[in-house]
Symmetry: D2
Subunit: 319 residues, 4 copies
């Protein structure tokens, strides 16, 4: 391990996503130090990192903070919610004025605003910087959406631009504005994605039930749409999925997927925030409702089992 | 002009779209004959076509029909609606059993079913085959979505595969099923597109009003989204449009666009047909309604001019 | 039976609804003659009608038509759809110029327009006149929504005003305009009702799941709402239903109702017609979609039985 | 003024609504004391109240609190939001363990939960008790929806049951459950009302634009609907409004109403809370969005004035 104040970048949270991100940083030529409470994760990173002068890890938060160059650039890849607040509270006695704390999670933008204001009083710069691309993206080149103090951002900008994915030579990272601007844009991004998934499902349903097309034919239709005005990543992967066989059983994989979705919240926040602001986003609202309907599947089925009675028939509510 | 029964392909409707399509056919090595009532369009095609043995045109429907190899392959590129029916009636006394009539327009699928049944009784094969890609696509490689009798389709398949766009070597054309299957898929395609445009508009609105981003920043956000899970043709062109300056005036082009859309019907048909079939497509329904709301702009404004009275204030409907 | 041309009013279709309507007419002092193909229905009416000079019935269409005063007032209470057309065709050789044919069913307004135009050429007046209130309303006082030729309407107006329900002395019947105006208003009426039922269901769901209220408490809440700004017939009957016990089993009746609705079409027509006209009715659209979702219950359940595999878990579509 | 601890009921906020409520309490036989910072409101109540032994008022908060029997029953009729919190803070040093503070405003249910928990620690009982019926209802008989501690509720129950409206002899008041149950039910009530208003507007729009009916005819149609399955308070008042003439100008009042709604929040909260709970309420969501669209009227118009250019035409987005 290097002497104090020697690592250029610090990362808290050494799960797969965190390890991949810090290895990416190191590979681009920056020294980097990781921290995790769990010694197993610390060892995993040391093993994967190879040259310990370049990338190292510790389960002592003091050693971690002291190991970083000032102003410190400390990124959090921990679950969104109260854990972010506890990590901040633990860091506060250890960091110095002018340091940067960067939240890389999918945090609610109002939480980011609150944390930014709280840390600003203590002269700590706080950033919300959504990371997209999953674990593989973190390793090979994520897309980054940072927001926070513009001047302080310059401290971490060279690292972010180095690790980000490149599109025709340009790094997929841009400073999006003060405070929670980065989280806000990520939230809208996910709201749109809800809508796109709902639309794709409606298209599939129409072609299947009404058009009478089979999975292979819909795959063909989606593949063709993907070469025209509807060309998109989601249409493309939908087309691929439609062609997959179930490798544990006979038949198509798509026919084994449960009609039940979950929500982590970002799409829902988009609708709720738009309502607070009086901005109409009706198709996103509907996509959120349809996902909620799909989630009630088990309740409905349990209710049926309990209550159905032969001969009751369905209720005709129209006269 | 060649002798009777010598042209491999016939096309009715020599507007820009029709001329481009027939020139594309000729360029792929097929002889082709065009027909239009308007001598100007006929001359335009002859001029653009060069070698009149390869591609020729006439404003006599009799000469046109007699000029084609049997079974004749006659494609219509005329406006959807009653014009398709009149052209069919004019053709009927001239064509022979086994000939193919192919409607290349955006026809309502029920009209195609009706025409197919009507012509089947007369031993004429009728196809609905949506052409997408616009006038430029017609010339360089359209996407084709034919539906109709499978055996008869083989007669025109080599021509369609030759003229269609190629994607990694595969022609963007596939037989979609009997009767109006081609029009049906095109209709659903356009319904989805309505939804995508509405979603894109909602995203823009949120980022602009709520996020406080300017056009240049939203352009940047859309460009970034286009490199991730939201990658799509519509996000890409939206990003491009956001960067355009108004070349007749100062400012951004986007700020000069009226918030008013029109409808030709295909998106609306998707919703209406889904309702007939009891298939829920709520986000497409909403997109159709939002487009209708945008279209009422002038009515609302005229009403305001007539009726507004100073000091009336707005009505607070909640207590 | 009276001599020819002696009955003031004729009714075709002697099911419960039809018999009730004609008995209502007779009770108000008009002579009335019924017709039905089925001799059983004819006998049922004769038995229920008592004085055969006042109300009589036949299963001969010729005798029926000849029995009516001219201009004849012939009302049809038969199922909406092609049966209306066949009855009209059977009547045509028998009726005379100036006679009235009145369709009392829930016909699609475009069908009424078509029939009205067809019969106008033959100097027969055709009316679409929705009857609401069910079988009991037909007997004791229905609500009537006639549309058609205003002058010809005067012939039947005294009968309609006599049989209709009275509200503070005024008969619940009004001429609504030419052609299909009556059916159109009835269609919009049913579209609104779809929306109200969907809203009531959403309220119940929120109070039950989110508020944690039991059926008895929701009944109380609905009863209270029914005394304020939400006062309405549907809230009132919803409150009553919530208080009913299952008389074949233990527990509340509401918990035994299947979450599955059917559609006869009038609500759906409202949405489809609004789309044709470019008039946005998004809450009705959504109510139609939600009813369609409820109808797919069995398909979904069957699919689950076939395909579910232990341990598959639900799909988390968000990252 | 009576001696200390002599008034049975205290009310803070002597606007029209507050004065009416306290006069209603006094009229039912309870002694009541009002408080308002504004001496004008205090004098107004004294004047209107007549017998000062029965109902009195003060602008000293100390005198007010000391004037009440213990356990004190103090009702707040002040605007929802931070004012409720400040009044609570001012009351805290003056009240005693076991006293009741009752918020009669349209408070957000989460605020009520927070206040209830905060005051519980101090042994003060806090109630959220929505009052509906407006200023006139407050005087003659409001509808009350209290929630809070069930045992403590018994202290105020006789007063609430005495002042509330009666429906067939039963007072329109019921204890709805612990904490914010009363505010929650009121919130859902208002969410439903948003939906009903949107549906009524859609019906009007269809009948007017599509059906071509005038205001007088729609009034007639609504009046008729109000006698059938659509019978409701909102349809009834809509019918009445449609018949009103503009008394400052010529024409119908309805044609002078701006197509622009405002929101105070309760409907919006219903949608947002349902999303948090994963309960689908799509028609309420859409009603909230449509109200937001209507509110943007002025922005759209200002934008048009600035940017419209002759000859630009409308954009046809479909191909």
């Amino acid at each position: 391990m290097q002497a104090n104040n020697q690592y250029a970048f610090g990362l808290i949270g050494l799960g797969v996503m965190g390890r991949n991100f810090i290895l990416n940083v190191a590979e681009k030529g920056f020294t980097a130090l990781g921290y995790d409470l769990d010694p197993g994760q610390v060892e995993a990173l040391k093993r994967e990192g190879g040259n310990l002068d370049r990338v190292n890890a510790t389960n002592s938060l003091e050693a971690f903070v002291q190991g970083l160059e000032t102003p410190r650039k400390i990124m959090l890849l921990v679950p969104a919610g109260p854990i972010v607040d506890s990590v901040i509270e633990e860091l506060l006695p250890l960091v110095s004025a002018g340091d940067l704390i960067i939240d890389g999670g999918n945090s609610f933008f109002r939480d980011t605003d609150r944390r930014e204001a709280y840390l600003k009083e203590k002269n700590i710069h706080f950033f919300g910087a959504g990371v997209s691309g999953g674990a593989e993206g973190a390793r090979r080149g994520p897309s980054l959406m940072p927001g926070g103090d513009r001047d302080a951002y310059r401290e971490v900008q060279p690292i972010f631009e180095a690790v980000a994915a490149k599109f025709e030579g340009t790094p997929c990272v841009a400073y999006l504005g003060p405070k929670s601007a980065g989280n806000y844009v990520k939230m809208v991004h996910n709201g749109i994605e809800y809508g796109l998934m709902q639309l794709t499902a409606e298209a599939y349903d129409l072609l299947r039930r009404a058009g009478g097309l089979g999975n292979a034919e819909i795959q063909e239709v989606f593949a063709r749409w993907n070469r025209g005005r509807l060309q998109s990543f989601l249409v493309e992967i939908s087309s691929e999925i439609l062609g997959r066989k179930d490798d544990l059983d006979s038949g198509d994989l798509i026919d084994k997927v449960r009609d039940q979705g979950k929500q982590k919240g970002t799409g829902k926040w988009t609708s709720q925030n738009a309502m607070d602001l009086g901005i109409p986003v009706p198709t996103i609202d509907i996509a959120v409702s349809m996902r909620a309907i799909s989630a009630f599947k088990q309740d409905r089925e349990r209710a049926d089992t309990l209550f159905e009675r032969p001969g009751a028939g369905s209720v005709d509510t129209e006269k």
